[in-house]
Symmetry: C2
Subunit: 501 residues, 2 copies
């Protein structure tokens, strides 16, 4: 069935794919040949439980989605300059999931295209240019979005922040500026945004937009405190700007009780622009921007046509409609609530048991576990998080770690994830944490270095756990890492691995 | 079969799709429900000959492409952080079509994503920022590309050109600065680029890239004169910049005798970066950037991962491979040469017959007909071009007009276009031109206004031809147009229609 052996695939990849395109588990990447539901299978038929692929939203290779795609591909796949029912039907269905003012769609091909267009809409609206973004935010890979993604531009040195970009603190009440002991962190974080606006205006600058994921994903599974978005929107509107809610990672029912992440802030909050992506087509390259009539008209008034070759083609729309149907038919929102609550509950039990677990937070099937070396200081346990990820892989479980310190275990599985799956992964984490804590205690006794943030090399004959930890250290050390950043597996060095999943 | 009547579709589109997204034939748009090969069918079963959809490269709904898509969709569609044979096999096949140094691929979702990444690669290479672009060029819809697309930013007023952008004259030997009577237009146009570089350097600016379509499409089906690219590349390299060949419109065998448009310049020319898009997946949203190892390594050395959620997924790659197979199996490159030569020959006969035809140029199935009101002055016959397009539509033929004056009939049909199709469309054009010339002569006799560039309104009881011409006039008048730029068909006004097809 396979055309190439894994070694050959890797060799060809090394030869023909840009070295900036990283693989999971650089030391021993996984070759996946098929997938169904929440399971992926490698070339030897080994089954992996998938806890990370939010793109395969309704489950890998869902037959209803495939069927809808085939039916439409056999008939017609063309651009949106011709009238087609799929386009308008899909726009009608999508906008029906949103508060009423959000009624006008632009169909594009990726979250990056969506966020870029959102910025164009925002800037055209009042002719303002500046953008307020959250610390650690990632909004996409095109030039305009690297500019507003501290997650990316902070890696390029101090000069990398452009003058028109203003970075507000991430509203993280566990590890941010205002924490769970603050009486009103929502207002405090919003006040910081107000101050940024005032400062910008003092310097003659004009705010076009505030952009934020409804819940920060790469930023560390951050759930903004209640009231934050309302207060920010208020300040941004007063400054003539718009509020862009990036739902690329968290939209489409993942949070369970609501269809969109921003709706968790309450009925009284409505963004001006919503961008959506990843789960929208269950893997098919498609994406959308939805905005108000007023903003759409202002964009139209500039006189430029907006044409997107593939955006809104009948096949993409047929797939999008099928995804919406499956979410409803299989009650995946209900499942996200039920399994999400169960998973969060199990993880909270782990917190009782293991001092490494500092915080468990989540809504529906968007869950983060913040690992700490010290509960009081909340010191990020980065290497331990990487260790767990690698150990889980050995158990055929796919999980990732993210956040500014890459110490947050990140759950965002296909929405068909079950109670059994949740139990299985948490049991494995339990075992790994137990082993890890035991080994740390033993090592402390033997007076081996306990600080795994040390840059000291571990002895080459260290245990496999130490090797894993050591590999993680090389990830943390940014500058060393940058120099080593050739191909994965080249000279057996481990490249810089700052991955967004 | 239809969910909505055409009127309902239009109504829903007006309500839910951004007004900047235009339809073909605003006055009476076409609803297409299926397509096969070079034919499209509307809701009444009427068959249209498609002369414009280069995206449906191997023919609409090609069964081999659909089959490959389904087969892979049923198995797996995931991201490129997992190893997969389709990715590397496709990269191997694609790079095999290119000169050897072009060996490293980045898979993305659209021509816009490809050109944006090309700019990022170019800028990272030596840390330079400036870009030289051709006049009338269009390279995509994201922010960074609007910036380097005079076709777009010129519509936004004089202030719209950014300081880092340098516009070189379009190497159009029919209507450009150096024409067919020049002894060496290639060198003359290249010298202009050299002067731009010198001037920029005098001002302390550094050239990152020269970007050009291998043949300008929206710019007016412009075939650059021999030797131009070599000389430009030479000057750009000396300045530390790279040459980006944008093959999004013209690549994949469309030019017949070569697989890539840039190869028409000769074996001694190799771009540093090639971007590809539209035809690559026969309508599936996919696209690619190919570059040299040196540039790819420099990009990797910045330490930023490049991750594209959908780019290079196994389904896109399976489709890409199927498209390459069909091009070979059905000898579509050979067909492009044979039918292209025949079509160009027929059109040249029209030039002998009709004074409106000023120039016929093309290679393979990329052909342009430059319509003029005066052969000596080469005055663009914009309204006539629009008239022809509308009249052809009545004959169920889809053709478009483009170029800076929108007076160039633009042929870029699916590659399965036949001799009969060519004969049919040229016969129709012949009739329309004959009628048009007759009517102009009659009107001149009756002392009706002959200058169709006049902004004067035609009498409402004018002939249908006059109405068409009148509609075209409203397109030309930029500022009036901009104010009217609401929804198509709203208040029966005709919106600004500057479309890229």
């Amino acid at each position: 069935m396979e055309m190439y052996s894994k070694a050959e695939t890797l060799e060809l990849r090394k030869k023909h794919i840009g070295p900036s395109c990283k693989v999971f588990f650089a030391k021993d990447p996984i070759k996946i040949v098929c997938a169904r539901g929440q399971y992926m299978f490698d070339e030897n038929g080994e089954k992996y439980l998938d806890c990370i692929n939010n793109v395969a939203h309704v489950g890998h290779s869902h037959p209803d989605v495939v069927k809808a795609a085939v039916k439409q591909m056999e008939l017609l796949n063309t651009n949106s300059r011709f009238l087609h029912d799929n386009l308008v039907q899909y726009a009608k269905r999508l906008t029906a999931t949103l508060p009423e003012p959000l009624s006008v769609c632009y169909f594009v091909n990726s979250g990056s295209e969506a966020n870029d267009l959102a910025l164009r809409l925002a800037r055209q609206y009042r002719g303002h240019q500046d953008v307020i973004t959250l610390d650690h935010a990632y909004h996409g890979h095109v030039t305009s979005l690297i500019d507003i993604s501290p997650y990316k531009f902070n890696q390029l040195g101090k000069e990398a922040k452009k003058e028109f970009v203003h970075v507000a603190p991430s509203p993280d009440i566990y590890r941010g500026k205002y924490r769970d002991d603050h009486p009103d962190p929502g207002s405090a974080y919003a006040d910081d945004v107000k101050k940024i606006i005032e400062e910008a205006q003092k310097n003659g600058r004009k705010i076009a937009a505030f952009i934020a994921e409804s819940m920060q994903s790469c930023g560390g599974q951050v759930i903004p405190p209640a009231g934050y978005f309302q207060k920010v929107a208020d300040a941004v509107h007063k400054a003539g700007g718009v509020f862009i809610a990036d739902e690329v990672q968290v939209g489409f029912g993942r949070v369970g009780k609501k269809f969109w992440g921003f709706q968790l802030q309450g009925e009284d909050f409505v963004p001006d622009i919503v961008t959506m992506g990843k789960p929208i087509g269950n893997g098919h390259p498609m994406s959308c921007v939805v905005t108000t009539r007023e903003i759409a008209e202002a964009f139209g008034a500039c006189g430029l046509e907006y044409f997107n070759t593939f955006g809104g083609n009948p096949v993409s729309c047929a797939i999008g409609l099928a995804v919406l149907d499956v979410i409803e038919k299989e009650d995946l929102q209900g499942n996200a609530t039920r399994v999400g609550n169960y998973l969060t509950g199990l993880l909270k039990e782990q917190k009782e048991k293991h001092p490494l677990v500092g915080d468990v937070r989540g809504v529906g099937l968007f869950v983060g576990v913040d690992l700490v070396k010290d509960r009081q200081k909340r010191t990020p346990a980065t290497a331990e998080a990487q260790h767990i990820i690698y150990k889980l892989k050995e158990q055929r479980i796919l999980l990732s770690a993210d956040g500014p310190y890459r110490n947050i275990l990140k759950f965002k599985p296909p929405m068909c994830f079950t109670m059994e799956d949740a139990k299985f992964v948490v049991d494995q984490i339990d075992e790994i944490l137990t082993d890890l804590e035991d080994s740390t205690i033993n090592r402390t006794r033997d007076e081996l270095p306990t600080s795994i943030q040390s840059k000291r090399k571990m002895p080459p004959d260290g245990s496999s756990q130490l090797e894993c930890i050591n590999e993680s250290i090389s990830h943390i050390n940014g500058s060393a890492c940058r120099q080593k950043n050739g191909f994965y597996a080249e000279n057996n060095t481990v490249p810089c691995k700052r991955i967004r999943t």
